[in-house]
């Protein structure tokens, strides 16, 4: 069976699941109404209700994850068949979805806009669909256990399936227009899922915030697509790549040109979706949604859509070095900013949220210096350990009866061993300890940033400092949550229990991934390992040919192996240092952090309050626009609009006065003059009307005289 021809089915399975939930879910789910938000700001996991599953709920639990599993299996089969093709790319175009009239491009020439309902399977999209469906499936399974107590079960799975559908559309699309459909769709599902507990105002607000910030980015993205259409003439990936690599467009080394603008606009879209500066503030608030949502959408898949899009557009970014530099700098800045905030957050999910932002910054750093495959590699490994960490934290929260503040946790490692061990693996991975996944990808990023002709040393400095901070805050989390004595109250402590199998088995699977996934991207430095261990780079090489060619044109990176070993050692060292520092502060001397906090008051407060960015946005945009706009509108209304109305009134009165004058003097005057004329002219005529016979006869005679006179004159 040719699975390659069936790739269009891959998104349709979860869509079918979502539709089924939409049509029949309410009837299936006994707890259809969402009885949520009993406690004000705590996830409603009620211990009293128990972990039972009703029969109908079982059906949903089987159906929706099953759909995702089917997508995963089909994806795996298709990717397998793809790997046997010589030219590793396969397009399936089902029909032309949007067709337009021919139009003139910016540089002359004619083009016709056409967007297909088409799917492209190449190495890049194959990585993405495996990640989305694989991790997605595991999270679906996890949700069976996690959401068992909540109302709106069918709604949750419906939305989750819908999200998977849109995400698959995004990564499988063969043109920017269809990608944008998926882009918007995942934004919508993010809104729906963040605001899943819609009775809670904070959740509803967070959903709105996420959607609005996404939209701001999407405006830039759409402009970028339109500019691309005007410049290149098509939105299909193959056409665009062909045009950009054909030599028709020159790399804009000298300055900022059309291509740089196009790339920058696309990057703005990525900023919104992937939570980079300045559009990142929605992601921490998005933690209002259920934990599986945070894991799937805001760690593994949706937020990586921006990275995917930038990677897909690598031919464009290769020709726009200025924008690539901006991408790298923004990524670096975001990484260190987010990491600094994560250092002092107390909510376990907030730490992970800022960690996600920071890691996304790393991915953009890699993309910005032209190492696209490394960015995708980090995306790949990050999906595993971040999903693991989120799900694990969900498990912790579940065990702690809804407590999310780490200051109320501690001493859990013996009570919830599976959760502890899997989170241990995830934390080690993210810290960058050699052997686990995070090390390989993060180290490669740091090396590329340092050594690439497009990289810079200062960006590297930021990267290494961020790596240190990453290790520190991650292990701060671990130590505060699992080690030491418990700081929770007695009732909560009594209720601590391990999560059910539906929750722990995905954790274990993800832990295995976090450990092993890195071994397909072993650095070249470790020449002892054969090339098979570098499969990831080779697999993705055809997609990033253009970028690679460009880099070699700039002069190949000097492979100074001694520096590379040095830097690798440095990154390991800072990771270990971070872990040890966390251990010192939170295990050995638990009172020390408070002392530090007190002594560095303002700095601590700033970090705790996220550098007051939210407050700044609030002041500038929300208040500024709302209030300033309101005042402006009030002024406009009273001065301009009311002034206009008054003016119209005055004008009417004035014209009426003119009309009165006109009527009295001109019109009536005319009439009166006519009558005057008649009267005046009638006086002489009246004289003729004598009534005398003889005067009439006289007139006859006078007429005769005149007649004769006339003839005499002739």
């Amino acid at each position: 069976m040719n699975f390659l021809e069936l790739i269009w089915l891959i998104p349709l399975f979860p869509l079918f699941g979502a539709l089924m939930m939409l049509l029949a879910g309410k009837r299936l789910d006994p707890q259809a109404a969402s009885e949520v938000a009993v406690a004000s700001d705590v996830e409603p996991v009620s211990a009293e209700r128990g972990h039972g599953h009703g029969g109908a709920k079982f059906l949903i639990s089987l159906f929706c994850p099953g759909m995702v599993l089917l997508s995963f299996l089909l994806s795996a089969a298709a990717v397998f068949q793809l790997s046997s093709l010589p030219e590793k790319t396969h397009q399936v175009i089902q029909f032309t979805w949007l067709a337009g009239q021919p139009f003139h491009m910016a540089g002359g020439g004619m083009a016709t806009f056409a967007a297909d309902w088409g799917f492209l399977l190449d190495p890049l999209s194959s990585v993405m669909i495996l990640v989305v469906t694989g991790v997605g499936f595991l999270i679906h399974v996890y949700s069976i256990g996690y959401m068992a107590h909540d109302g709106g079960y069918y709604r949750f799975f419906g939305y989750l399936n819908l999200f998977v559908f849109f995400m698959l559309m995004l990564v499988l699309a063969n043109n920017y227009a269809l990608l944008f459909v998926g882009w918007e769709g995942v934004g919508l599902c993010s809104y729906l899922l963040i605001g899943f507990y819609f009775h809670k105002k904070s959740a509803a607000d967070a959903g709105k915030k996420a959607f609005v910030m996404n939209r701001i980015g999407d405006a830039g993205f759409l402009l970028g697509i339109l500019l691309m259409l005007a410049t290149v003439g098509s939105v299909r990936f193959v056409d665009v790549n062909q045009a950009l690599t054909s030599g028709r467009f020159h790399p804009e080394i000298a300055g900022f040109g059309v291509l740089s603008a196009m790339a920058l606009l696309l990057f703005i879209g990525a900023t919104g979706k992937s939570a980079q500066v300045p559009l990142y503030v929605w992601l921490p608030d998005a933690m209002e949604g259920p934990t599986p949502v945070s894991a799937l959408i805001h760690a593994a898949t949706m937020v990586t859509a921006g990275v995917y899009m930038v990677a897909r557009s690598n031919a464009l970014f290769a020709l726009a070095p200025e924008t690539s530099l901006i991408v790298a700098v923004v990524g670096a800045f975001t990484a260190i900013l987010a990491a600094s905030i994560a250092l002092v957050q107390n909510d376990i999910k907030r730490v992970l949220a800022y960690s996600t932002i920071s890691q996304l910054g790393f991915m953009f750093m890699a993309a910005g210096v032209g190492a696209y495959w490394v960015a995708i590699f980090h995306l790949f490994t990050h999906a595993f350990f971040k999903a693991l960490l989120f799900l694990g934290s969900g498990s912790v929260i579940h065990a702690m009866s809804g407590e999310q503040d780490m200051r109320g946790m501690g001493g859990l490692k013996d009570k919830i061993p599976v959760t502890f061990r899997t989170m241990f693996i995830g934390s080690v991975a993210i810290a960058g300890i050699p052997g686990l996944a995070g090390f390989f990808s993060k180290d490669e990023i740091l090396w590329q940033v340092f050594s690439s002709p497009l990289g810079s040393k200062s960006v590297y400095m930021v990267g290494i400092v961020t790596a240190a901070m990453t290790a520190f805050y991650m292990w701060r989390l671990m130590f505060m949550t699992f080690y030491g004595a418990s700081r929770a109250d007695a009732r909560t402590q009594a209720h601590v229990h391990e999560s059910p199998r539906t929750m722990t088995v995905p954790l274990m699977a993800l832990a295995a991934g976090s450990a092993l996934a890195g071994w397909i991207g072993v650095p070249k430095l470790w020449s002892v390992f054969p090339e098979g261990f570098r499969a990831f780079e080779h697999w993705l090489a055809p997609v990033f040919e253009a970028a690679a060619a460009h880099r070699t044109a700039h002069g190949a990176a000097p492979h100074d192996t001694s520096i590379e070993w040095l830097l690798m050692g440095l990154s390991v060292a800072v990771a270990v240092a971070g872990i040890l520092a966390a251990r010192y502060l939170y295990l050995i001397k638990p009172g020390l952090p408070d002392a530090i906090r007190k002594s560095s008051g303002p700095l601590y407060d700033t970090l705790l309050n996220k550098w007051y960015v939210d407050e700044l946005y609030d002041f500038l945009f929300v208040n500024g626009l709302a209030k300033g706009g309101g005042t402006a509108m009030a002024n406009f209304d009273s001065v301009v609009v009311d002034g206009g109305v008054d003016g119209a009134g005055w004008l009417t009165r004035f014209t009426s006065r003119v009309s009165i004058w006109w009527d009295t003097w001109i019109i009536d005057g005319g009439i009166r003059f006519a009558s005057f004329l008649v009267k005046v002219s009638s006086y002489p005529v009246r004289i003729l009307q004598t009534g005398y016979l003889q005067s009439y006869a006289l007139v006859f005679v006078v007429g005769v005289a005149g007649f004769l006179l006339y003839f005499g004159m002739r």
């Binding site: 003889q694 005067s695 006289l698 005679v701 006078v702 005769v704 005289a705 004769l708 006179l709 005499g712």
Partner: protein
């Protein structure tokens, strides 16, 4: 016998003119009527001089014998004593005089200086064959038959009209 013609012309002309002048100037209506009869006689004579014998006869019989008698009857019916004592002429008689003088001047101009003034072709000194009455009757009953009949209709209308107008109570 042109000498006789001339003398008779002047006699008849004098009759006509003097009769006319006296008609328009007498105070008494009866006198005016008598003088009009005189004038009409003069005109009849002029017709005779012009070899219009039938018209001469008709003038006398019809005009003088019919119309003037009618005038005299009406003068009798109407009380003119008061009228004869009042002013006879209009207030604007001078205006009438002036207009008439003007018209007269113009006619004089035409008669003397007008185109082809008195360049009459040499007239037929001898009358054509047939007497006046015969010739008149020929023309009247052949060429002018329709006007003749209409004239009789006119007279009928006039008779009816005058009877009605003059009745005291219709």
């Amino acid at each position: 016998m042109t000498m006789l013609d001339t003398i008779f012309f002047y006699i008849f002309a004098l009759l006509a003119l003097s009769g006319a002048v006296l008609t328009v100037t007498r105070r008494s209506a009866v006198h005016s009527a008598i003088w009009l009869i005189v004038s009409l006689f003069g005109v009849a004579g002029l017709y005779l001089l012009q070899r219009a014998e039938f018209l001469f006869a008709v003038q006398i019989v019809l005009y003088i014998g019919g119309i003037m008698v009618l005038f005299l009857f009406v003068i009798m019916l109407v009380d003119l004593d008061r009228a004869s004592r009042e002013r006879q002429f209009n207030k604007a008689w001078w205006l009438a005089l002036a207009c008439v003088a003007g018209v007269g001047a113009e006619i004089a101009y035409f008669l003397t200086k007008g185109p082809g003034a008195f360049q009459f072709p040499p007239g037929a000194a001898a009358p054509a064959a047939g007497g006046n009455v015969e010739r008149l009757a020929d023309a009247l009953f052949s060429e002018y038959l329709l006007p003749f009949e209409m004239a009789s209709l006119l007279l009928l209308v006039a008779v009816v009209g005058s009877v009605i107008l003059a009745k005291k109570r219709i």
